[in-house]
C-alpha cells in the first residue's frame, strides 16, 4: 500500500545541511497497522510527512496505492492526497469552525454537494461517537474529543491510508487507550491501512501488526510486533522495550540473582528466559514440567501482558536441580511451544 524507496531527506543547503532520512526503505501492506517508533529527532516526523509529500524527499520515490506520488504534478498530487487521511499530535482543527464544519472541510475542498456532505458527516460523527457535539467549537472539546474530530475529518474522503503523526502523544493514558481502540476498530471495520509514528512502545504494543524502529534517519530493526517486542536486537529497540517492561539487561539480572538466591548452589545455576505467546500464556505448562522433573525455579523477572490483544508472557527464571533434570525441563517446555533461551 505504501512503499518508500531509498528516501533521503536533507534539510538546509551545503554547509549547514542536516540529513533527516538516509536511504530509507519501508513497505506497508494493505490493511495492516504499521508503527514506526523512534526518539524525537530520529526522523520519524519527516518520514510520515514524506508519505503525503508535505515534505518532499531530496531523493527517492514514494508510492501509495500503486502510484508514484513523487512523479505527480501539483493538481494530481492534491487529488491523491485526498486518498490519504492524516491525524496530528495537536489535532490541527480549524478553531473558527464547528465540529460539523471541521469534518465537512475535506468534503467541501473536494467539491462534494451539500446533501452528500451532510449524510457523510453524520455517519462519521456516529462512528467517532460525537453526535451530541456537532455544533460545538474545538475550544469547547477535550483533547480526546478533538482527536476524534481529527479522525472523523481524516476519514471523510474514504481514504485508503491513514497517517497518524504522534496522534496520542498529547493525550492522557486513558484517552490514549480509547483513541487507540477507535483506530483499531476503524482498521478492522474499514480495512484501512494505518501508518503511525510514536515514541511510546505502549502504542505499538496495543494496536500495531508490524513495527519499524527508526534511529538517526534510518530503520534499524523491523518485523512483526511480537517478534521485535519479545526479541529485540538493536540497542535502541531494547531501550524502548525496557521502558515499557522493567529493565532486562542480563548483567543486572545476574546481580539480582546472586542477591536473592545467595546460596552456592544457586550461583552456578543457569538463567533462562521463557517466552510464551498466544493461548499457551495462561497454561500450566511450567508447573507441570517442574513437577515431573523435580526442578526448582525462582522467577527473577516477569511480564504477563498482551500484544495487540494477544496474550504473552516473558519470564526470566533460574532453575536449580540436577543438570540433566534441568535439561529435561527445558525440553519439555520447548515441546509445549514455550520459547526457551539461555541468558546467563
Amino acid at each position: 500500500m505504501i512503499e518508500l524507496k531509498d528516501i533521503t531527506k536533507i534539510y538546509g543547503s551545503k554547509a549547514k545541511a542536516t540529513t533527516a532520512l538516509k536511504d530509507l526503505n519501508l513497505t506497508v501492506e494493505q490493511g495492516e497497522i504499521f508503527g514506526v517508533i523512534g526518539h524525537s529527532g530520529a526522523g520519524k516526523s519527516t518520514l510520515i510527512r514524506c508519505i503525503n509529500l508535505l515534505e518532499r524527499p531530496s531523493s527517492g520515490e514514494v508510492w501509495v496505492g500503486g502510484r508514484n506520488l513523487t512523479s505527480l504534478g501539483k493538481r494530481e498530487l492534491q487529488l491523491q492526497r485526498r486518498r490519504i487521511g492524516m491525524i496530528f499530535q495537536h489535532f490541527n482543527l480549524l478553531s473558527s469552525a464547528t465540529v460539523y464544519d471541521n469534518i465537512a472541510f475535506p468534503l467541501k475542498l473536494a467539491g462534494v454537494d451539500k446533501a452528500a456532505v451532510k449524510s457523510k458527516v453524520e455517519e462519521l460523527l456516529k462512528l467517532v461517537g460525537l453526535e451530541a457535539h456537532s455544533g460545538k467549537y474545538p475550544s469547547q472539546l477535550s483533547g480526546g474529543q478533538k482527536q476524534r474530530v481529527g479522525i472523523a475529518r481524516a476519514l471523510a474522503n474514504d481514504p485508503d491510508v491513514l497517517l497518524c503523526d504522534e496522534a496520542t502523544s498529547a493525550l492522557d493514558p486513558q484517552t490514549t487507550d480509547s483513541i487507540l481502540k477507535l483506530l483499531l476498530d476503524i482498521n478492522r471495520k474499514l480495512g484501512l491501512t494505518i501508518l503511525l509514528i510514536t515514541h511510546e512502545m505502549h502504542v505499538i504494543q496495543s494496536i500495531c501488526d508490524r513495527v519499524a524502529v527508526i534511529h538517526a534517519g534510518g530503520i534499524v530493526e523491523q518485523g512483526p510486533v511480537a517478534e521485535v517486542f519479545l526479541k529485540p536486537k538493536h540497542p535502541v529497540t531494547k531501550e524502548f522495550i525496557s521502558r515499557e517492561v522493567a529493565g532486562s539487561a542480563p548483567a543486572q539480572l545476574q546481580a539480582q540473582g546472586t542477591g536473592t538466591a545467595g546460596e552456592g548452589q544457586a550461583q552456578g545455576s543457569p538463567v533462562y528466559r521463557l517466552t510464551c505467546l498466544g493461548d499457551h500464556t495462561y497454561s500450566t505448562d511450567l508447573s507441570e514440567a517442574v513437577l515431573r522433573t523435580g526442578v526448582q525455579f525462582a522467577i527473577l523477572q516477569g511480564t504477563v501482558s498482551t500484544i495487540k490483544e494477544i496474550p504473552y508472557s516473558q519470564l526470566t527464571v533460574r532453575f536449580t536441580g540436577q543438570p540433566e533434570a534441568v535439561e529435561l525441563t527445558v525440553n519439555r517446555l520447548r515441546e509445549r511451544h514455550i520459547d526457551v533461551e539461555v541468558i546467563g
Binding site: N52, L54, K74, R75, Q78, L79, Q80, R81, R82, I84, M86, F88, H90, N92, L93, L94, S95, S96, A97, F105, P106, K108, L109, A110, Y137, P138, S139, R153, N157, L163
Partner: protein
Amino acid sequence: MWGLDFSQIDWTEMKQASYDTLEMMGYSLLFTIIIGLPLGIILYMTARSNNRVIKWIYNVISFLVNILRSVPFVILLISLLPLTKLIVGTTLGVTGTIPPLVIGAAPFFARLVETSLREVDRGVIEAAYAMGASTGQVVRRVLLPESLPGLIAGATITAVTLVSYTAMSGMVGGGGLGDLAIRFGYYRYEKEVMIIAVLFMIILVQILQMAGDRLVRHFTRK
C-alpha cells in the same frame, strides 16, 4: 460657561462636516481593505518561501510598503496631489481625499493583515494541504476564517487612523470635521466650533472601536 458661547455654532455646517468625515472614512476604509487585504496576503505568502524569485518579490513589496509607511501623511498628501487629480479628476472635497487616504492606509493595513495571518496555527495550514487543498483554498478556507478576529481588529485600528488622517486632509481642501476644527478653531479662534468638532471625532472613534471590539469578540472561538 467658561466664556464659551455655543449658540453661535452653525449646526448645518457641523452636520455637513460630520457627514463628510464619515464618507471619507467609509470609502477610504473600503478601498484600503480592497487593496490592503490582498497585499497583506501576498506579503504573508511570499515571506516564507525558499524560492529565490518569490523572496525577491517579497523584498520589493515589503520595501515599497515600508517607504509608504515612513513618509509622514501630510507630505504624502501633498506629493500625491497630481496623482489624485489623475485618478479622480479633482483634489478637492471628499472625492479628492480618498486616493491619498487609501495610499496612506493600505500599506499600514497590509502589515496588520500580514501579522494576523502569521498568528494562524501552521499545523492547521499543513492539515489543509494534507487534505489536498490548493493554495487558493488554503487562503480562502483556512487563513482568512482563522484570522478573522485579527483582521477585524486590524480594520478597526485602520478606521481610527483614517479618522485622524481625514483631519489632515482637511488642510488641503478635503472638508470634514478635522477641517472645521482647524479652520474655525485654529485660524479663527472660534473655540466652540473646534471643541464640538473634536468632540464629534472622539465620539466617532469611540463608536468605531467599540463596534470593532464587539465584532472581534463575536468571531473569536479560541
